[in-house]
């Protein structure tokens, strides 16, 4: 028996759509009960499971709203149906084969609580073997929509900082109920599934609401527990033209996410497309340190990358990662690293003023567009202004000090 807590005023409505696979469904529901503080209600929409999952839900689950459809309406419509039953401020869409880890929910809620300009937030998705499945998604020309970081080491610093993303998979996605309603929910045009989560996030972006990847929250996702690989491919093939037709104009200005060996800059260009204000801090171990915390709070929408040329192990600086700062190092030298980020940055700060000229050639070749600065506060302010950044936030205006 899986018993959900009785919560008087749930703040979060967790919506799960099931289609068979009771073994995973029960495990997913059990993980919610075990790893979630009682601030939520549970809504399960069963899409006429071909096995006994529907009956098992009725039999084995207490304290949840169970809706049983007499036919499979697909993920998006099923999720919309679950949302109609919700009373929470927030909706959390969770796949029936997604298992939440301890402490998963507060970091997601924090993001929405603190910044009204964020519309959706997603956790780090892991494969069952612990490798990374998704650190947010990115779109590219030609209707490309892919999971960033698939197959990588989940603890790699490249995937451990909070950042704005094009979309995140609805395998685990927290949105405000009012924003979900405002865009009309998941578009039924995508039928049984695929691309409806991309569509939802792009719809939210269209209303000025960001989607954020929050790696402080972790969910393990099995994938494919309710569909076969062939059926998944078929659904994706049917949905892709719908997606392409709807978003052709917006996607046209994007780089293709292809030929990455020849054009390595395309990957970070797509990864950071939603953070066009970008600051690179080159840290050599000499010279005054740039005030990263202050940069992060005064320009919360900017992507800040701290490149450690002094200490390759510093890339795991958890404190900076927690601020949403990219912390990087390179064994291939500055030139090779910059080549993969050609024309990427708005401002480049070389902390060691004396060493700045050493890098002139490489910076001139790979970041000619960037405003150069040293690390003093006055110089940084001038550099941001020259780069066209919006005026820095005052303390009163900062959205709770949490960078999306």
């Amino acid at each position: 028996m899986i018993a959900f807590p009785c919560v008087d005023r749930p703040d979060v409505s967790i919506v799960m759509v099931t289609y068979g696979g009771w073994e995973w469904v029960s495990r997913a529901l059990g993980a919610i009960v075990a790893n979630t503080e009682p601030c939520y209600e549970m809504v399960v929409v069963d899409n006429a499971s071909p096995d006994d999952t529907g009956d098992a839900l009725d039999r084995s689950v207490l304290g949840a709203t169970i809706v049983r459809n007499d036919r499979n309406v697909g993920f998006g419509p099923g999720a919309n149906q679950g949302a109609l039953h919700a009373v929470g401020r927030y909706l959390l869409f969770l796949n029936s084969d997604a298992f939440v880890e301890p402490g998963w929910l507060p970091p997601l809620r924090d993001v929405l609580d603190r910044d009204p300009r964020v519309g959706a937030v997603a956790p780090r998705l892991l494969e069952p073997d612990g490798t990374l499945q998704e650190a947010g998604g990115l779109v590219g020309a030609g209707g490309f929509a892919g999971q960033f970081g698939m197959g990588a080491d989940a603890n790699d610093a490249r995937y451990r900082y909070r950042r704005r993303v094009d979309f995140a998979s609805a395998a685990a996605l927290l949105v405000r109920r009012r924003d979900f309603r405002a865009v009309g929910g998941f578009d039924p045009a995508y039928g049984m599934g695929y691309f409806e989560d991309v569509d939802l996030c792009l719809d939210l972006w269209g209303r000025g609401l960001a989607t954020v990847y929050e790696p402080a929250s972790t969910v393990v996702h099995l994938r494919g527990a309710s569909t076969t690989f062939d059926e998944s491919q078929a659904r994706a093939a049917r949905s892709h033209p719908v997606f392409l037709r709807k978003w052709a104009r917006q996607l046209a200005m994007r780089s293709p996410v292809a030929e990455l060996e020849r054009y390595p800059h395309r990957l970070v260009a797509s990864r950071d497309a939603r953070a066009p204000d970008r600051i690179l801090v080159v840290r050599t171990g000499r010279g005054p340190r740039a005030p990263i915390d202050e940069l992060a709070s005064r320009w919360p929408d900017a992507l800040i990358t701290v490149l450690h040329l002094d200490d390759p192990d510093a890339a795991g600086d958890g404190r900076l990662l927690g601020l949403g700062v990219e912390v990087a190092s390179t064994e291939d030298g500055l030139g090779a690293w910059l080549a993969e980020r050609r024309f990427h940055y708005s401002v480049v700060v070389v902390e060691d003023e004396g060493a700045g000229t050493l890098y002139d050639g490489m910076l001139g070749r790979y970041q000619p567009q960037a405003v150069r600065s040293v690390a003093t506060p006055a110089a940084l302010d001038r550099a941001m202004a020259e780069a066209g950044f919006a005026p820095p936030l005052t303390r009163a205006a900062q959205p709770g000090g949490v960078r999306p």
Binding site: P77, H85, R178, S255, A269, P276, F343, A390
Partner: protein, 446 residues
């Protein structure tokens, strides 16, 4: 809708929604935007609310006795009276505070409950009220029976302006969803019938009214106010009509109801004023049932007349203008009250909507610029590859050039050596003769 209309006119205004329990009693219909709780009425609480605001707008359908209102929230009569919930709607802030902080009744809907105690409270409270409008004749008559002696204007519920709030893109998305779920027909004229207790006795008349209509009509039964679900009534209606009907679930949201009514070419029959007003907003024929309509024939006549009259145009335009004037007046009252207050913190320059629009435009421009840089980077990579290739070719050419120069130098050296030999010098005359015999010029000097 009221919040939307006020905010549209006064973008710097902060509009806060309050309800008896607010977010302490979250419901599906709050759409994820629960109101703030009003709490328990007291002079202190009234003063607190008056301090927060320049104007109080009371709107929606009201239940004016505490027991009835409390029952909606699962309270006992004693608890409801202790909280004084209805006082927020009738007495509002109290006479003294209302002089500084005006209270407006905006398209309020009243029930037929002729409680003498409530009537007395209404007479006292509404005598001082800055503006009083109710949403239908029934509500106006209620005030008349209560002895309220002041002009009371009938204005439709602001839901009449729903098309301003609900974009067409969202409406069509929800309609597609309703059709996919089998709750709404895919095509053809639709008549939405409200599932309600008043309609149950009139099912035969409804069926007769529908049968009177020329051409096919598909019926959709929807629950607009809390009832018993659509199942029983839908079954009875289907039996009376001799064909199946579509059933919208009770959980359908307000945007789903709007989508259903907006697409209902054959109109709406029901008791809900909100439902009727929404259908009217989209130019659909409307029949609002009351007890008199249960009589045989009148419903069919009424429906026929409604279909004939429903061009939407003139009446809708007049009602919309009236509502616009009302909201203009509400904003005028609010800003007047705000000006009379002592100076406080000054709001920033520029309306929030303008600032947000500029922020988004700048963000889009920055994204576009970054995307253009990435495309430019592609071109630079391509050109660098071309340059690298050309450099290699140039290197090859230089090497070939060098080797050719070396070969030429070697050949010239050999020729010079040959010319320096005695054989070459002694054979000059013979070579010269041979050349002239071949038609060539004389050889050069020896």
């Amino acid at each position: 809708m009221a919040r939307h209309e006020i905010q549209r006119r006064c973008e710097n205004a902060e509009v806060r929604a309050f309800a008896p329990l607010g977010h302490r009693h979250p419901v599906r219909s709050d759409g994820g935007e629960p109101a703030e709780p009003l709490g328990t009425w007291s002079p202190t609480r009234a003063a607190e609310l008056a301090g927060l605001t320049d104007c109080v707008v009371v709107t929606g359908e009201l239940i004016l006795n505490d027991e009835g209102l409390g029952a909606r929230y699962g309270m006992t009569p004693g608890e409801a009276r202790a909280r004084g919930l209805s006082r927020f709607f009738v007495e509002a802030l109290g006479a003294e505070l209302e002089m500084e902080c005006p209270v407006v009744w905006q398209s309020v809907g009243l029930t037929d409950d002729d409680d003498p105690e409530v009537s007395a409270r209404l007479r006292t409270a509404l005598a001082r009220r800055t503006l009083v409008t109710v949403r239908d004749e029934r509500s106006r008559r209620r005030l008349e029976r209560a002895g309220v002696e002041r002009d009371v204007v009938v204005l439709p519920d602001p839901i009449l302006l729903v098309a301003r709030w609900l974009p067409e893109s969202v409406l069509s998305k929800r309609l597609a969803y309703l059709r996919l779920m089998g709750w709404y027909p895919a095509e053809g004229p639709v008549l939405v019938i409200e599932a309600s207790a008043q309609l149950r006795p009139a099912i035969a008349n409804v069926a007769s009214a529908i049968g009177d209509v020329e051409g096919p009509v598909t019926v959709v039964v929807a629950e607009l106010t809390p009832y018993d679900g659509t199942g029983g009534l839908a079954d009875e209606l289907a039996a009376a009509l001799g064909c199946d009907v579509f059933r919208m679930p009770a959980i359908a949201g307000s945007d789903d109801i709007a989508a259903a009514l907006g697409a209902a070419q054959a109109g709406f029959i029901g008791t809900s004023t909100l439902g009727a007003t929404t259908a009217k907003a989209y130019g659909r024929p409307v029949v609002v049932l009351d007890a008199a309509d249960v009589a045989q024939g009148s419903l069919a006549d009424g429906y026929r007349a409604a279909r004939a009259a429903a061009d939407g145009g003139k009446e809708l335009a007049e009602l919309t203008s009236a509502l616009d004037r009302q909201f203009d007046r509400v904003v005028e009252i609010s800003t007047g009250a705000a000006r009379r207050r002592p100076p406080g913190p000054v709001a920033g320059d520029g309306s929030p909507t303008q600032i947000e629009a500029m922020r988004r435009a700048l963000a889009h421009r920055a994204e576009r610029a970054a995307a253009e840089r990435a495309t430019f980077a592609d071109r630079v990579v391509d050109l660098e590859a071309v340059v690298a290739r050309l450099e290699v070719e140039a290197g090859h050419l230089e090497h070939w050039g060098n080797s050719q120069a070396e070969a030429r130098a070697a050949a010239e050296g050999e020729l010079a050596a040959l010319r320096a030999t005695r054989t070459f010098r002694w054979t000059y005359a013979a070579r010269d003769l041979y050349r002239r015999l071949r038609g060539g010029n004389r050889l050069g000097p020896r």
